[in-house]
């Protein structure tokens, strides 16, 4: 059956309005990602993201001018945590509960030049973040972990790129993120570096509640979470 041309035009126009626009041609200055890009980055189907959003209401993206979902970096990080829990065998509902991190009380972010002074700068940054916090053991552990991560970044990362350290203080925990430029880390390299002196990760593993490595061709990011209860 052939529709009258006027009706066919209306349907095509409606379909065009519903068609997602190419995001490549319209990069968002705020670093927001559309659902397809997020799904590709996480290696899951966009429908999974929509289902999680509808069921759990934990990651609810804002909408763009065309009604498309737009995820900010914090939401992508939350989804990454959800997915990590799911891949460890957690139910999606529990994974969402575990993935929610409250807003930090304070944040410190620094760029540190790769040098012998880098670990000292990391400890000073942690001191500045903690301020008058009266928990010497937690403060010591956090300084030690920051110092070891930054030392490793200096020893094994690119000497041409600054080390970035971000520290967040929560009411009962802290999160450190240390990023360095350089090539992808492999398990073999980690083992060799352990023999050669890059051994801070066993300290991190002994002191942290949780930690993760995200490594790629442009560099490596290590994220560590320490809780005050775990330090006691």
């Amino acid at each position: 059956m052939r529709l009258p041309s006027s009706r066919r035009s209306r349907i095509l126009a409606t379909a065009r309005n519903r068609q997602p626009q190419r995001t490549d041609a319209d990069p968002d200055p705020a670093g927001l990602l559309e659902i397809g890009a997020v799904a590709r980055e996480l290696g899951i189907a966009p429908s999974t993201l929509r289902t999680w959003e509808r069921r759990y209401r934990v990651v609810v993206p804002q909408r763009g001018r065309r009604g498309q979902r737009l995820y900010d970096p914090e939401q992508v990080a939350t989804l990454r945590r959800v997915l990590a829990q799911v891949r460890r065998g957690a139910r999606a509902s529990a994974a969402h509960e575990l993935a929610v991190i409250p807003s930090p009380l304070d944040t410190a972010s620094v760029r540190i030049q790769p040098s012998m002074q880098a670990p000292l700068k990391a400890r000073q940054t942690v001191d500045g973040l903690l301020g008058e916090l009266d928990d010497p053991r937690f403060a010591f552990y956090l300084r030690l972990v920051a110092s070891e991560l930054v030392k490793n970044a200096f020893l094994h990362g690119s000497s041409r790129h600054p080390i970035r350290m971000e520290a967040k203080l929560f009411h009962d925990a802290a999160e450190l993120r240390v990023q360095n430029g350089g090539g992808r880390l492999t398990l073999r390299m980690l083992r060799r570096r352990r023999r050669d002196g890059g051994r801070g990760l066993d300290i991190v593993d002994a002191l942290a509640d949780a930690w993760s490595i995200d490594t790629g061709p442009l560099g490596t990011t290590i994220t560590v979470r320490l809780s005050m209860a775990h330090s006691a």
Partner: protein
């Protein structure tokens, strides 16, 4: 006292390998007073346990002992065992993680 805090870190490092038996080697952090010293010391679990059996003894890299607060009571190629003196000994006992 940083030495006591490093001792806590080392207790955690030992805990990770405790099931390997007394002759298993592992690495601890130097238990000297300097917070920026994180030099590593290879040690057997049995050797580490012998030091930990006395609250006032600590393991440091050779040359890191501070004669003002401690004396060297044993040494080998890799490390020295120091014993805290005076008030430092008292603090070490009070902060002993294995006490009670």
């Amino acid at each position: 006292m940083n030495e006591s805090l490093f001792r806590l870190v080392n207790e955690r490092l030992e805990k990770r390998v405790a099931d390997r038996g007394p002759d298993a080697p592992f690495e601890i952090v130097c238990e000297c007073a300097r917070e920026d010293c994180t030099l590593r010391i290879p040690i057997l679990i049995a050797e580490y346990e012998a030091v930990r059996s006395e609250a006032t003894k600590f393991v440091v890299v050779r040359g890191h002992a501070d004669p003002a607060v401690e004396r060297v009571v044993d040494s080998n190629d890799g490390y020295e065992i120091v014993e805290k003196l005076g008030e430092a000994a008292l603090v070490a006992e009070v902060e002993n993680p294995r006490d009670g």
